[in-house]
């Protein structure tokens, strides 16, 4: 799983998503100020920044959970407005939230298919096709190399890594256009984290699905991401390719001062040098 294994993304890769000038306030709290991000097909984009920088709000707007106060979302060439998570999901945007959105009281296979269940008709009644969902879940988890005690187990009984893996597997099952992962590696052990990173690297190698990743560990950012967007106080203050900047430089920017100006200045410096 080395950066070198995977060729850099083609500069011709089409832009699949633009979130332009997004602002959002919650009561007195300003979460996002005129934030803009751009994602190309097959690209892995890291959103980094301190707690409260607006990363989670930004992706929750993309996934239809929140609605922006202003700004536009252009997805696959046309302006869209997602009314609900169901909307965004139906249009190919899958999100793995920090809380994983797993239902503890349901089995692994039911969790895989909540919201897009398979049915069969018995006496004209539309009933769940549990056998089909169980078989599909088992086969799919096997394909991804994800081990769970059984697809019939309640997810409540799984370990942290197993839960994370099931959540990721669920989100990539429907071959989404965009996959959003909110801190997929938080709270995972080294081995479990490596497995989830491996899943992401496999997707990246295929350059088919575009991924937005919220991460805190810069080491992991440089391992799996093509580009970095740094958020500070609700603004995107840095947009750089991982090949044009380094972990040390990123840390220097973060440490350069707590003020917005200081970070913006440091970011501008990187931008000027890389010409991006």
């Amino acid at each position: 799983m080395n950066q070198k294994d995977i060729p850099a993304i083609s500069p011709d890769a089409p832009v699949i998503l633009e979130m332009i000038g997004i602002s959002k306030t919650f009561g007195a709290v300003t979460a996002l100020v005129d934030a803009t991000i751009r994602l190309r097909k097959g690209e892995v984009l890291a959103l980094v920044g301190d707690n409260g920088a607006g990363k989670s709000t930004l992706i929750k707007i993309l996934s239809g959970f929140h609605h922006p106060d202003s700004g536009r979302i252009v997805y696959q060439g046309r302006e869209v407005r997602f009314g609900s998570p169901r909307d965004a999901r139906a249009q190919g945007i899958e999100t793995v939230y920090q809380d994983l959105a797993l239902i503890n009281d349901l089995s692994v296979y039911h969790n895989m298919f909540v919201g897009r269940e398979y049915h069969k008709r018995i006496l004209g009644l539309k009933l769940l096709d549990n056998k089909k969902m169980r078989d599909l879940a088992r086969t799919y988890l096997d394909t991804l190399g994800i081990e769970v005690p059984s697809v019939d187990s309640l997810v409540e009984l799984l370990s942290g890594g197993q839960r994370q893996s099931v959540a990721v597997a669920r989100s990539i099952y429907s071959s989404p256009t965009i996959l959003v992962l909110d801190e997929p590696l938080a709270a995972l052990g080294v081995r479990e984290g490596a497995h989830v990173l491996g899943l992401i690297q496999n997707l990246r190698r295929q350059r088919d699905v575009s991924i937005i990743l919220i991460v805190h560990n810069y080491n992991q950012v440089f391992e799996v991401c093509d580009r970095i967007n740094f958020l500070h106080s609700g603004e995107v203050v840095l947009d750089a390719s991982t090949t044009e900047t380094s972990e040390e430089e990123l840390i220097r920017i973060v440490k350069s001062g707590l003020g917005r100006q200081a970070i913006a200045a440091a970011a501008a410096e990187v931008a000027a040098r890389t010409g991006s």
Binding site: P85, V114, K126
Partner: protein
Amino acid sequence: MARMTATSHGAPRKVGLREADTALERVLVLLSRYREASIAVVALVLVVYFQLGNGAFLSSQELSVVLRDTGRYGMIAVAEVMLMITGEIDLSVGSTFSLAPYIMVLLSISFGAPLAISAPTGILVGVMVGVINGIITVRFRVPSLITTVGTFFLLQGVVVSIYNSQPIVDPVQEPFNEIFGENLFGPADPIWSWHGLTAFTPFLWTVLAVLVMQVVLNRTTFGLHTIATGSNIIGAREIGVRTDRIKVYNFMIAGGLAAAAGIVNTTQFASADPLAGGPFLTLQAIAAAVIGGTSLLGGSGTVIGALLGAFVVATLNNGLVMMGAQATVSDIYLGAAIVLAMILNVQVDRMRARRRV
């Protein structure tokens, strides 16, 4: 279920689920796996106890009384189970139970509407009560415990003031009445006859409702989303479950079933009594749901258990009275049973959570 891995010593070591250590834990694990079975055992023990104590408990007359009560509590308890799984509760069912048949009988008497038309109208009223309870709860974010205390009093007041709190005689319309609760069973009738069957119709309608809700809960998308809503409401929303709608629909089911139970009760007694339901009925139905193994925490519950719980409540009430106890004494046992069942439910839930390693 435990996955096996080898340790450096080569001896297999279990990971995943921790095994139950003590005898108590083992019992709790068994209970969590077979909740309905354990309450069925309690019901059986009660039946044997009352039969030995009195000898008449298993007579068809007495069983008819017990099963009619079971039907009345059970139909409402099933609806409460669905709501409790979503994390809500409906205390207004006791008033809906009185209101719906009152409207049914009034429509038939005042406008000459056949019961076959006024009864669905009554059920529709119950469903509308559910819509109101649901919308107040999800839109205005009032906890359903409070919402439905409010609508309980409101509807109780309405039904009492419609006709000066007078009971109204249910019009005689066959076969409607004998299908929906009228008891034609006399001492001369054999049990296996139409008249014998009518001794148990309220119970049989409830069994039907339980079977339908069992399928709805465990075999439909709606049931899956009901569990998801109560288990993890934010997560369920994030993956596209319309949690507000699911809650409102379950309030509608509760209102509709409470109305249906009230209508069956009215045809049974040939009278629509504005005080037929009341707070006591609401609480007995919730007791049945809790004794049946549904916790108030949301996310899990059993409708079969609710029926068994209703049977336990009905058996306690009638059995103790039959053995010569004051009616009030049975409340002591009922109260103790609720507290014990709730302690057990919570322990079983905790046990389940602790077994996560």
